[in-house]
């Protein structure tokens, strides 16, 4: 009991610090602080349709956070997650463009998701290979590849995949209605999306915590050199972990195309990968907390849409709060001399 409280103390102090700073900011903006927190925490949960929208944000966020937990466990700070999500969306769209009326949609859905996963994995592998063989930091390589991925999506949307006669970043022509993932009546929830996220969570959980492979990955994360000396194929494990992370992100991108945007939009990643990074930073490669933290982030992000409507407060306060929590936790860890992430 006591040790658990000790473990929880850092996040709780950090949470209070973050909430306090956010409250001060809200006060400075002349807002009703309690009402604002109320909207943030419960706004996404008040109607079935809002819960559905929150779950549709949670699913790709969870996929990214799960993937990143994998890559963090291997000691890789995969900042290229947004790009991996983007190319996942691009690959899915590429596959779906072959669809013709009457073709079996299930084949196209599965194909699109697999294409997204494959492309996301390859994109992540590029970063990992650059790190392993060219000594390019995966942080900078990942960020660089994010821009390349965005450039690719922009080129396709403005160029070969443009709407007839139109050049706009608003996206490609929408997919045929049949290709839209079916939704729960009256909402925008496509059940399969959160289900797939949970499946990936379960798979990665099992891999990291209950397999020899996962042990080796974690050993690489702790010390690549030591793990090599212990006979762990460190290069291979690191590349595999990165590829798996990329696959998760690519799957998220593909699902955004068939389940949310129903088209390829340049901003298909839309900051979800970065939010996943915040989640991964908070849980520090501990897969047990990923779902809870991702849920919390999804709830406040989704609920924040109501801030401008009900209280005339800018919704970006949710991002401020998320950022502050992560910052406070990292500062608290640094003060205690722990490893930061």
């Amino acid at each position: 009991m006591k040790t658990q409280f000790v473990a929880l103390r850092t996040p709780i102090i950090a949470m209070i610090v973050a909430l306090t700073i956010t409250a001060v900011l809200l006060l400075l903006a002349g807002a009703d602080v309690f009402a604002a927190f109320g909207v943030l925490l419960t706004g996404a949960l008040t109607t079935p349709s809002r819960i559905a929208d929150m779950l549709m944000l949670l699913a790709p966020l969870l996929l990214c956070a799960v993937g990143l937990t994998m890559s963090f466990a291997a000691g890789q700070y995969n900042l290229g997650i947004e790009g991996q999500m983007t190319v996942g969306g691009v690959a899915a769209m590429w596959f779906l463009r072959g669809y013709q009326d009457g073709a079996p949609v299930l084949v196209y859905w599965i194909g699109a998701v697999l294409c997204g996963m494959l492309m996301g994995a390859l994109w992540a592998l590029l970063v990992a290979l650059l790190k392993r063989y060219m000594r390019v930091s995966e942080i900078f390589a990942g960020l660089g590849f994010n821009f390349v991925a965005l450039g690719l999506a922009l080129y396709l949307v403005f160029g070969p995949w443009k709407r007839p006669g139109v050049a706009s970043m608003s996206g490609t022509e929408p997919l045929a209605d049949a290709l839209w993932l079916p939704t729960v009546t009256g909402t925008r929830l496509t059940l399969v999306t959160p289900l797939l996220a949970i499946v990936m969570l379960a798979i990665v959980w099992r891999l990291i915590r209950h397999t020899h492979w996962g042990l080796q990955v974690r050993a690489c994360g702790l010390s690549a050199l030591a793990s090599v000396r212990m006979g762990v194929p460190a290069t291979r494990r690191t590349l595999e972990a990165m590829a798996l992370c990329g696959a998760c992100a690519g799957m998220a991108g593909a699902l955004q195309v068939i389940g949310v945007y129903h088209a390829l939009v340049p901003n298909v990643a839309s900051g979800i990968g970065l939010m996943g990074l915040l989640v991964a930073l908070l849980v520090r490669a501990d897969i047990r907390w990923v779902a809870a933290v991702a849920l919390f982030f999804a709830v406040i992000t989704s609920g924040s849409i109501q801030l401008p409507l009900t209280l005339s407060i800018d919704s970006s306060i949710s991002g401020v709060l998320q950022g502050l929590i992560v910052l406070a936790v990292i500062v608290a860890r640094a003060r205690r001399g722990e490893e930061v992430a």
Partner: protein
């Protein structure tokens, strides 16, 4: 070590604080949830692509809606602004519409070309709510459900006046146009500005071959760093390349801001902003005038029609009231002359406006498209649809007609 010893008590205290804090929050929102319903209220919702103070397109909508709200008793506006992939990356139009309807909106106006698909989906999901997509064409294409209409101002006239003002004041006839993305609407408006410029340039006695009209598209309605071209840079490139008037077709005021700075630095350059009545304020010394949307008449009619249940799905276009194009309650399209327009040119511009009011139609053939194909035969007058669905820029204009 010491920390460890006291930690048990401290954490329990902290847990208490957190629980207390959370319960406060929850009770605060519970108290908020029961608002009394006012009688005879009519709530209408706006979905805006930019911020309400963008000094352009979105502000024109917002200000008009505010004005109408103050004039029609019982009406109340609710809105969400900045609905675009840069400002609200994970928010879809459909979601915003749901929130506005949850606030009681019986009428939803969506105001960006970008919202076409989302508006249609929302309209299908909420058959009891009236939807109007400003700048869309779902009614023309037959895709609109019965509760979705379209409306748009005949900005062609505003742009013709803008083009004329540019041609009157330009020293060298080198005019540039900064456009958003390429589609029917933006081609239509760029073409209209060109037609106005050509007419007034020729009337002024300028050498027809000397008139240059160069169009650059940035890729969206406003600057999105890393995604669109940077409008500030585009405008300055125009000036560097010898243009002395820039006409803006984007939602934000970079053209007038940069022209104002260049004027202050001693360059004789001018700009014509877009969308919003007071846009000249961002660079008075360089402003030739601004064509703007006045949504007041359209919103007033729309709300009254929906309230009276006489509204039906149609494609509505409104234009200037030629008796006074700047009449707040009557004219849907206006033009405010800028301080930089000389008195002589202002008189000539008024004469041009009077000609338009008298029935001058610049969309009369012969008009060729940019690639040389004939669009209108000699004497042929364009139909509304021919103007709306403008396939290319016109012969004599430089710039991209469709996407790369």
């Amino acid at each position: 070590m010491k920390q460890q010893m006291v930690s048990g008590r401290t954490s329990r205290t902290m847990m208490l604080v957190v629980v207390a804090l959370l319960s406060l929050v929850f009770s605060a929102c519970a108290a908020k949830s029961s608002a009394p319903a006012a009688d005879e209220k009519f709530v209408f919702g706006l979905v805006l692509v930019g911020p309400i103070n963008d000094g352009g397109w979105s502000q024109a909508h917002y200000d008009a809606a505010k004005y109408v709200e103050s004039k029609i008793p019982g009406s109340q506006m609710v809105y969400v602004d900045k609905v675009n992939p840069a400002d609200r990356p994970n928010v879809k139009v459909e979601q915003v519409v749901d929130e506005l309807i949850a606030k009681g909106a019986k009428l939803i106006v969506t105001t960006s070309d970008d919202f076409k698909d989302g508006t249609r989906e929302s309209a299908k999901a909420h058959p009891d709510v009236t939807f109007v997509h400003a700048s869309g064409d779902d009614v023309l294409t037959g895709k609109a459900p019965a509760n979705l209409g379209n409306m748009m101002g005949r900005m062609e006239y505003g742009k013709m006046i803008a083009g004329c003002a540019a041609a009157l004041q330009s020293a060298n006839g080198n005019i540039s146009f900064i456009g958003p993305l390429v589609n029917d609407e933006t081609r239509r408006l760029a073409d209209s500005a060109f037609l106005g410029a050509k007419y007034c340039w020729n009337k002024r006695g300028g050498d027809p071959a000397a008139l240059k009209f160069n169009v650059t598209w940035i890729g969206f309605w406003f600057n999105i760093p890393g995604v669109t071209l940077d409008p500030t840079k585009v405008v300055n490139d125009f000036f560097t390349a010898g243009s002395d008037v820039v006409i803006s077709g984007i939602d934000t005021p970079e053209a007038i801001v940069e022209a104002g700075k260049a004027q202050a630095a001693g360059k004789a350059v001018f700009a014509i902003p877009y969308d919003f009545k007071d846009a000249c304020a961002k660079g008075e010394a360089a402003c030739l005038g601004v064509p703007y949307f006045n949504w007041v008449p359209a919103y007033t009619k729309l709300i009254n029609d929906v309230k009276a249940k006489t509204w039906k799905s149609e494609f509505t276009m409104f234009g200037p009231d030629w008796a006074d194009i700047n009449a707040v309650e009557k004219s849907g399209i206006g033009f405010v002359k800028g301080k930089a327009l000389t008195a002589e040119n202002a008189t000539k511009l008024d004469a041009f406006i009077a000609e338009l009011a008298g029935g001058l139609n610049l969309w009369t053939g012969p008009i060729n498209l940019q690639d040389g194909t004939a669009y209108l035969k000699a004497g042929e007058v364009a139909t509304d649809k021919q103007v709306w669905y403008m396939p290319q820029l016109l012969e004599g204009m430089q710039g991209q007609s469709v996407s790369k």
